[in-house]
């Protein structure tokens, strides 16, 4: 199996992270924003794997599992909250969240 240099994996992670960030920054739909955050988290997971690979340790992969689990937990709670918002207002537009300010 041809080995992929760790740097490549890291670069890919960076690209993924940037993509996710872009999504977070430009999307207005809450669900998409949430998905973008997931992409960022997974990019980080990938970076961990790449790093673990570089140091020839399993730690990176362990961290990836952690990230996956916690991201799932986060998303489940987030979806519940977002659902209630949708239930209340009928929209998922993030810009509609703004009654608290000053």
């Amino acid at each position: 199996m041809a080995t992929v240099p760790a740097e490549y994996a890291l670069a890919l992670a960076a690209v993924l992270f940037a993509l996710g960030l872009t999504g977070v920054l430009v999307r207005r739909n809450m669900i998409y924003v949430l998905m973008s955050i997931e992409v960022m988290l997974n990019a980080a997971g990938l970076a961990f794997i790449a790093a673990g690979y570089r140091w020839a340790e399993p730690d990176g992969q362990v961290m990836f599992v952690f990230i996956l689990t916690l991201a799932a937990a986060e998303v489940s709670v987030a979806l519940a909250v977002i659902f209630r918002f949708f239930h209340r207002t009928g929209t998922l537009d993030l810009d509609k969240v703004g009654s608290l300010k000053g």
Binding site: A18, L21, L94, D95, K101, G102
Partner: protein
Amino acid sequence: MKEFLWLIPALPFAGFLALLLAGRSMPERLSALVGTGAVGLSAIAVLLIGIDFIGSPPPGGFHAQGLWSWVELGWFRADAALRLDALSLTMAAVVTFTAFLILVYSAEFMAGDEGYSRFFAYMDLFVAFMLVLVLADNFLFLYLGWEGVGLCSFLLIGFRYKESHTGYAARKAFIMTRAGDTAFLIGIILLAASFGTLDIQTVMEVGEGAASGQQGAIAALAALSILAGALGKSAQAPLQTWLPDAMAGPTPVSALIHAATMVAAGVYLIARTHALFELAPAVMALIAALGAATLLISGLSALVQSDIKRALAYSTMGQVGFMFLALGAGYWQAAIFHFMTHAFFKALLFLSAGAVITALGGEHDMKRMGGLRKRLPLAFWSFLIGAASLSALPLVTAGYYSKDLILKGALAGSGAFLWGAGITGAFVTALYAFRMVFLVFFGKAGADAARRTGMGIAAPLVLLSALALFSGFIGVPSFLGAVAPPPDTAAQVDTTLAGVLSALVPVLGAAAAYVVFFKRRAWVEGLPEKGFVAGLHAFLRSGWGFDRLYERLFVRPYLLAARAGREDFMDAPYAGAAKAAELLSRLLAKTQSGQVRRMRWMTIGALLALRARSYDAHGRSPSSGVAAWASARLGGPSRVVLPFWRSRSILRSSFPFWTEEIAAADGSLKPILNGCPA
């Protein structure tokens, strides 16, 4: 007897305390008794002590009595101490006797006034302070009396406090004299700092011992500041304008304070410190010149006044001007002599004027008086005697002897020019004195005179008349000469002609007054109402426009500054800072729009800013002053080396420049991709 010296000021002060504490509940008669009695007792004490003093002169010609240690702090020491010598004895005698007579007069004059006991309380307090002034042994104690009489003058001018103009006059008097007094205080401090003591006699001795160089300059400076104090108190140019306004007080007050005693305190002060002045001939010349100037200014102003009390006030300024002339010439005995005679005849003039005013129901305007000779014979005769003595009609009046002495001294000590001013002043004095006599007592009858005078008013008038005529024969100059002989200039100048002139001029002045104001009165009344003459009249009448000048020069700018400062411009920076904080707060609050999208952007933006900053701090381009400063402060932590990840170049080329990540965030992946090896 001399050990009871302290009683002299203490008795009037006790009278004041008694009236202060219980005066409100006393009947008028009792108030008058307490007030007058205290001063009377004090006068008796002066008499007894004086007899003792003259009978058995103490060694050195003075008797000192320490009362208590006032301030003692390191090298600085000022005691409350009294000193009796010929000068202070003369002064004390004149003060107590005049005051006693005036108080007796007041007991009737003030009857029915709602502040009756307050009046006597203030008068007693005044006498007490005046005696402290006269008897004080050191400058600080003297200053206590000095300011005390100023205070009483303020209180008594504003005695009828319900009228607002009296308050203004009182305030004006206090403030103007205070300006002089402050200079005096600086002089006192100068003396204390230079000579290490405030004991008057010691200062004089030290001063005499060091006539030249540094000490001489200090003496001159001190003399100058003492002079400033004296000018204020004695209403001499340029601090004279408060005196005419001070006539707002009750007439006995004008008589006692603003004619007989307090106003002459400046003369006493200079006489007391004459040793200091002798070290500074220039200051002496200045005194003489100012005296002569005041004499002429006030004489011409007195000539055109219509208010009888204002005319007398200007005359007081003039007579004190005579005294200053004598002081400037070095003849301080003559000055004190004139002070005494002036005290008597001016008190007499004021009291008789008071009698006239009361008789006319409060009328002050001489133009509305006239022909009162018959109706008020007592007032007429006493006023006439007073005016004669003021004019210094030769031989028969006391004023002649003192004024003659002054004029001779002026010729001898200050030269012909100032003597000329003096003799002119004497002429003008006689002119306005008899103008008053003719306006008030001769000619057509003006307003009706109503009230008869009682014994309380008559007795002091008679006694003062006698004093105004005969006190010239008291040998005050020689008595005072025992303290310090007059300067020897007297022998060098022939004063015979001057003597003849000083006897003639008053008579000429009186005669001129007879012609102008009685015989040819129409001529004066026919003067044009407009044009130069009227302007001159108004100018003289307003006291040469000094009031207006000071108003423009000092009062208005000061008030303007005070009003402008009401809101305290120094608060502006703080108010501005508060405003700025508020503005900033509102501005920042705008960033808290509550919009999640904006929050994300701002958070990321902040992150990028921080990264840019963190790279600057590597020293490549310390763009921030704060960062550079902080790094200098810290002494710089161990310099961070940047060991790039060995042999792998891709991350090195893509990650160190975080701006590229922004590009990535913006969606442009080029830089990173370009950096990848194929």
